[in-house]
């Protein structure tokens, strides 16, 4: 399939494996290239500098805007703070991310691959560096064929050095998301950071350098599962980078086709200049139709539009177009665009629902929580004087950044119960005051007693109400109080 590879390279037809052909993409200017540069600057800018953004959360809490603190088991994203109990937010994010990818695909094919995928963005950056040191397509092909001279060594060394620096910075930025960034930068600079940190930087330096510098389109074609999934997700209404064969064929060189027209023979607009192939980062010929390797970056559109302008023909011989419009043009019908259709509505619906649920839980997120676990063995204990006792393990969560006093009340409609918490005093009204430290949990053992010889059902619903004394916020957990069968009457 590769047509812009080194033309002298021989395909070894007698083996089950072939050498990966090196692709030499040519530089191109145009609308989609500009969009790609803009996205590159924004996304990489966010990636490299976000860890340094500060966000004041008050004393005792980290002031880094985006931080995943594994040691303290907290994740921070600006005003959002996530505890391990709340990783379901991550599920919500992943659901939204997956469906957003489906939606992108239903609207504009592999727009993710062409513009947003880290592999594409870093490869673009690495190619820019490569062009700076080794020149454009033709220069690079020639340079690779040249014997090893001083200039060649200098250029190659320059390129690999800058690549490694970028790769190292990529790994360096990654680790900053997991610790206080300024502190870690200082530790890294003075060699005090832990070996794990250096290890992660080394791993990401290696992957960035090899994937963006050397593997490039091989990642998309052979490693990534997404192209396969997308083959099943695209449809006749999805915008895809398309060579409009109806307008371009039969292709021929400018003079050749002019002659054919004069002779009254059909001649297309494609002048067979191979510019679309030369600029392609994955080395495919878009004129062969949609194919696995194509990442839909639109650079061939830019290249073709530049040529069409030069030869005085309308642009858009290669353009974002749909399968259905290709068919309709062949039949002489007007193109139709239908972005609002059941598929896209369902995708948007799922995104809205998932985002809505996340937003709701986020807005109603409590700064405290309580979990109640009834003893499994024994379920109840009969004491002297006919008192039945049940034991519970309570865990109180205080998400405030200061220590808080909570009041625990136990009540039931089935009878009067008395509660005790091991190690805490019971107030005169039967409630219990418990202090929980800042940003932490506290586990206590609670004992609940029935009245002597009380008539109770085998299992009574028992409410545990925990109230923050300062804020008045409260949580109600309903558990049960169990008695022996024979006490029922």
């Amino acid at each position: 399939m590769k047509t812009n590879a080194d033309p002298t390279a021989q395909l070894d037809e007698d083996t089950w494996f072939v050498s990966a052909e090196k692709v030499y993409p040519q530089a191109v200017k145009g609308r989609f290239r500009t969009i790609k540069w803009a996205i590159l600057f924004v996304t990489l800018g966010i990636y490299y500098f976000l860890p340094f953004v500060r966000w004041d959360r008050g004393a005792g809490a980290p002031d880094q805007a985006v931080l995943i603190d594994f040691e303290a088991r907290r994740a921070y994203f600006f005003f959002i703070e996530i505890w391990p109990q709340e990783v379901y937010y991550l599920t919500g994010l992943l659901v939204i991310a997956a469906v957003a990818l489906f939606l992108m695909n239903a609207v504009a094919g592999r727009v993710w691959c062409g513009y947003l995928c880290p592999q594409t963005v870093w490869t673009d950056l690495f190619m820019k560096v490569e062009r700076f040191f080794e020149g454009d397509r033709r220069d690079r092909i020639n340079l690779d064929k040249e014997p090893w001279t001083g200039t060649k060594i200098a250029r190659k060394t320059g390129k690999h050095t800058v690549w490694l620096l970028i790769a190292w910075w990529t790994g360096g930025a990654w680790v900053l998301y997991f610790a206080d960034a300024p502190t870690l930068v200082y530790e890294l600079a003075t060699g005090q950071a832990s070996l794990i940190v250096y290890g992660w930087i080394a791993i990401l330096t290696f992957t960035t350098y090899s994937l963006a510098g050397h593997m490039r389109e091989q990642v998309c074609t052979y490693m990534c599962p997404w192209p396969r999934i997308q083959a099943a997700l695209t449809d006749e209404y999805a915008l895809n980078v398309t060579y409009r064969a109806d307008r371009g064929e039969p292709r021929g060189h400018l003079k050749e086709n002019k002659k054919r027209l004069e002779e009254g023979l059909p001649a297309g607009d494609c002048i067979d200049c191979h510019q679309c192939v030369a600029v392609c980062p994955t080395g495919v010929d878009i004129r062969k139709g949609s194919q696995l390797e194509c990442i839909q970056c639109g650079l061939c559109i830019d290249a073709c539009d530049n040529i069409m302008t030069k030869v005085g023909k309308p642009t858009g011989l290669i353009a974002y177009d749909t399968d259905i419009n290709m068919d309709r043009r062949e039949q002489g019908l007007d193109p139709i665009y239908r972005f609002v259709r059941p598929r896209t509505i369902i995708y948007v619906g799922i995104i809205v629902i998932a985002a809505g649920i996340m937003l709701y839980t986020l807005i109603n997120r409590q700064m405290m929580d309580l979990s109640v676990v009834h003893d499994r063995n024994p379920l109840y204990v009969t004491q002297n004087e006919g008192v039945v006792r049940n034991g519970y393990t309570l865990r109180l969560l205080n998400k405030e950044s200061s220590a808080q006093d909570f009041t625990l009340m136990v009540r039931s409609q089935d009878g009067n119960f008395r509660a005790e918490v091991v190690g805490a005093d019971t107030n005169s009204d039967g409630s219990i005051t418990l202090e929980v430290g800042a940003d932490r949990t506290r586990q206590v053992r609670a004992l609940v007693f029935s009245e002597p010889n009380a008539t109770l059902p085998v299992s009574s619903a028992l409410d545990f109400v925990l109230t923050n004394n300062e804020t008045g916020e409260s949580v109600l957990i309903t558990d049960f109080f169990r008695t022996a069968e024979h006490t029922t009457q």
Binding site: E13, T15, W16, F17, V18, S19, A20, Q218, Y222, D375, R376, N377, P378, V381, T382, Q383, N384, R389, G391, V422, G423, E435, R442, Q443, R445, L447
Partner: protein, 292 residues
């Protein structure tokens, strides 16, 4: 194979491998060579791994690898690290009284966690995982304590045991009223029925001589178990008014115990577990709910 190899699929224009299954032919879209190289690199890696890490089993040992990595050593190191981390709170526990431990949330949480683990490892085999005991092994959940149910009482019982070989052991034995012929059969039957009817709350036999039973009780049992049958923790004499009898509260069970009492043994734990763990256990057992 040779002549088949040249075959080209008409629809796709791709050469086939010559493999055919029920008329379906496999196209030959070759993989890039770096896939193969990664496979070779994995093999080379595995050889390096054999040399560096423990790998091949031998008859009675295994090849240790040049860096001498051992999972057991890693586990031991992690255990030592954990113990060192616990040492600080552990030493606080050692200094604090049992009441102080109970009223300090930090120490209480530590003692409860460590007590619960120690209980499961050491006490559960006899007293049950839920601490509800069995016949002959006291129930630690209820509020019936043969040797006292305060934290200090519990700590002492755990430390030195009951009728154990330790010199500080708790010791108390009931006389074998039947076997040693102190009481005759009728007297034993009468007193068992008296205890069942008046103290244990179980059903006496029909026509039992409860008046004789009372006389026997007052003369022989009240000295230790008390006039009211409330028992005496100092002597280890059980409270007979509780329905939770160590060996059962039926007339037959009581008769058997009066005739020839069984005396269970609890081992001393202080030398084996150390004071910190014993304290944790005392706090934990007391907190189960029956503590006094």
């Amino acid at each position: 194979m040779g002549e088949l190899k040249k075959e080209v699929d008409e629809l796709s224009g791709v050469e086939t491998t010559g493999h055919e299954w029920d008329g379906l032919k496999e196209l030959n879209n070759p993989l890039p060579k770096w896939w193969l190289y990664i496979f070779y690199a994995s093999i080379v890696w595995s050889i390096g791994y054999w040399i560096v890490m423990p790998s091949w089993p031998l008859v009675s040992s295994y090849t240790a690898g040049v860096i001498g990595y051992s999972q057991r050593e890693v586990a031991t190191r992690e255990f030592d690290t954990a113990m060192a981390e616990r040492a600080e709170t552990g030493s606080k526990l050692l200094e604090a009284s049992l009441d102080e431990i109970r009223s300090t949330p930090e120490l209480l949480e530590f003692a409860m966690a460590s007590g619960s683990a120690a209980f499961a490892d050491n006490c559960a085999p006899c007293h049950g995982t839920g601490a509800t005991g069995f016949v002959g092994y006291p129930n630690l959940q209820d509020d019936v304590w043969i040797w006292g149910g305060t934290m200090d009482d519990i700590a002492q019982t755990i430390s030195y045991g009951v009728r154990s070989e330790h010199e500080d052991t708790r010791f108390g034995e009931m006389m074998a009223f039947g076997r040693d012929e102190i009481l005759n059969k009728e007297e034993i039957a009468a007193v068992a029925n008296y205890v069942a009817a008046n103290l244990a709350g179980s059903t006496p036999e029909e026509g039992a001589d409860l008046a004789l039973g009372e006389t026997v009780y007052v003369d022989n049992c009240a000295a230790c178990h008390g006039d009211e049958g409330l028992g005496s923790p100092e002597l280890g004499a059980p409270n007979l008014t509780s329905p939770n009898y160590l060996y059962g509260n039926s007339v037959e069970a009581i008769e058997a115990q009066v005739y020839s009492p069984r005396h269970g043994v609890m081992p001393p734990w202080i030398d084996r577990l150390g004071e910190t763990t014993v304290k944790s256990l005392a706090v934990y057992v007391h907190s189960l709910g029956g503590g006094q």
